[in-house]
């Protein structure tokens, strides 16, 4: 990054502060579903607001109001958004007729794609790889298991925080609008999605388990075990259908709690009727 040398010591201090503060961004979730991590975003962007609006209390207040609105991105990706917003707040503090609605607009436009890329990469790939290594050690009673898991995940995210905070601030909205314009953002979203779905598929195969005890008696022959017929049809047929069914229900905005209760009741009923 050739621009990195152009940053002053104050700039670097501020960007580092944004990266560190992103750690606390998911703390309170105050405002519930309507605001999600808004306060966390404000907490992160404060070093920029304090610096640029030192002598402009009016503009600072507007910025506070602007940043208590709904915001939610995967935690380690937050510094990218905060870096971009910091560079825009800087412009706003210098230019008289800056259109502040563009700050809100860029936040709103980026939240979705960034959360999509961040969540699928971090939760479905990094976490799963770290966990599958850690589980192996922990099952043998080794304390290395949780430690390795924790270190792998967090060294990846800590690196992201600082890299993204600098990338966001140095290149500002230019960076992301170029990425949008030339289609890079769309490609990244698609690829993170593909990788995420492959991992979710593998996790479905490894964690959702079902086996029926139903035996179909055949007069004059050997009884047929239903499960072995199902297995020869398609391994893991019930788990994959159940998972896709749950997704369909979530798509239809059925409350997740009802879905879980439904599975609980269904499981007990299946046990009662000796299906499992």
């Amino acid at each position: 990054m050739k621009y990195l040398n152009d940053l002053s010591i104050d700039d670097k201090k501020m960007v580092n502060s944004i990266a560190w503060r992103s750690l606390n961004a998911h703390c309170s979730r105050v405002g519930g579903q309507a605001r999600q991590m808004a306060i966390g975003f404000l907490w992160q962007i404060m070093p920029a607001l304090n610096r640029y609006y030192k002598d402009q209390p009016e503009k600072k207040r507007d910025a506070l109001v602007r940043h208590v609105q709904f915001c939610n991105v995967s935690n380690p990706v937050y510094p990218l958004l905060a870096g971009i917003v910091a560079s825009m707040e800087k412009e706003n503090s210098e230019v008289e007729d800056f259109d502040t609605s563009s700050i809100v607009a860029i936040k709103a436009a980026l939240m979705g794609p960034l959360a999509g890329i961040g969540d699928s990469f971090l939760f479905s790939v990094v976490r799963v790889i770290a966990a599958s290594i850690g589980i192996g050690f922990a099952l043998q009673g080794s304390v290395l298991g949780p430690i390795i898991f924790f270190l792998i995940y967090n060294s990846v995210t800590m690196g992201m925080r600082f890299g993204l905070a600098y990338a966001g601030f140095v290149s500002g909205r230019q960076f992301i609008t170029t990425m949008y314009k030339n289609g890079t953002l769309a490609i990244l979203t698609k690829c993170a999605g593909i990788l995420g779905l492959i991992m979710v598929g593998a996790m479905t195969a490894s964690t959702v388990k079902f086996s029926t005890a139903i035996v179909i008696p055949i007069s004059g022959g050997d009884a047929v075990k239903l499960q072995s017929s199902l297995d020869s049809l398609f391994l893991g047929l019930v788990p994959i259908l159940l998972t896709l069914g749950c997704k369909k229900m979530l798509d239809k905005r059925i409350n997740i709690n009802y879905i879980m209760l439904g599975i609980l009741v269904l499981s007990i009923l299946m046990a009662v009727f000796h299906i499992v």
């Binding site: 703390c27 105050v30 405002g31 605001r35 506070l64 099952l139 995420g196 709690n257 879980m260």
Partner: protein, 269 residues
């Protein structure tokens, strides 16, 4: 018993509240919280094994956008605490912990998504007044502290009330219900995975879900190897897409002088 309940609540607070305080660092995952609870309750090895087992069970459950399919942290703490009860087998402790995790999920989700909404107007008011201390200290860290002390006390009372009775309770559960609970534990990850999938799914790429499923189910490859295959596949797809993109833009540049300035306007709308 009081000690066990206190230490359980403490390990829940350290891991669950610590996870949210410091960058969603995954300390609330069963594999970590199981070890911490085991350490505090004096049986590290048991905690490690229970944690690892439940980590595999809850692999697909993550807390996304405030939706959580079950509170795996609470489930793990209860399982480790109950496993120290000599009258109860660790496997029974884990089975009983899963419905407890679902119940605890209701509590955390109720507070996070419903109750905390009452603060929305206060956030706006304090922002208009420029009350930075109120916003950043009280509403960020204050709410974090109060909310998590509340969650930890729910865990405390759960263990305190349940501990001595749990073995009697588990023995009184008909075998058939116990089987049902075990089956439920094996089916429940579907909900968490569906939640993960809903975030990512588009019609264009949906088919790759099946690819991951089949690779694991039929080839029995370790999950890391599946990840490596996936990464290689994705890099080659990205390369092709970038190439296509470049060709398309070159074509556009030749075909017309009209630039795509309007795209950005649409994007920001």
């Amino acid at each position: 018993m009081l000690n066990i309940a206190l230490l359980s609540a403490l390990s829940y607070f350290i891991c669950y509240a610590g996870n949210w305080l410091l960058g969603q660092n995954m300390a609330d995952r069963p594999i970590v919280i199981g070890a911490v609870a085991g350490l505090l309750l004096g049986d590290l090895k048991q905690g490690l094994i229970i944690g690892a087992t439940l980590e595999a069970v809850f692999m697909g459950s993550v807390n996304i956008g405030g939706q959580v399919s079950a509170d795996y942290s609470a489930a793990t703490v209860f399982a480790v605490a109950f496993a120290t009860n000599t009258a109860l087998a660790p496997s029974a402790a884990m089975t009983i912990a899963i419905p407890i995790g679902i119940l605890m999920g209701f509590v955390t989700m109720g507070v996070n998504n419903v109750f905390l909404t009452v603060f929305a107007t206060l956030m706006d008011k304090w922002a208009y007044e420029g009350n930075e201390k109120g916003l950043l200290i009280y509403l960020n860290f204050g709410v974090w502290f109060v909310k998590n002390v509340f969650f930890a006390s729910v865990v405390f009372f759960g263990v305190y009330v349940g501990y001595s009775g749990v073995s009697v309770f588990v023995k009184s559960i008909p075998a058939v219900v116990m089987t049902g609970l075990t089956v439920c534990g094996q089916l429940l990850p579907a909900v968490g995975l569906a939640l993960l999938m809903k975030m990512i799914w588009t019609k264009e790429i949906g088919i790759y879900y099946l690819l991951g499923f089949v690779i694991f189910m039929y080839l029995k490859l370790p999950i890391i190897v599946v990840a490596i295959f996936g990464i290689i596949l994705v890099i080659s797809i990205a390369n092709r897409d970038f190439e296509m993109n470049r060709i398309k833009r070159q074509g556009l540049a030749v075909g017309s002088t009209n630039s795509n300035e309007n795209d950005l306007e649409d994007f920001l709308q």
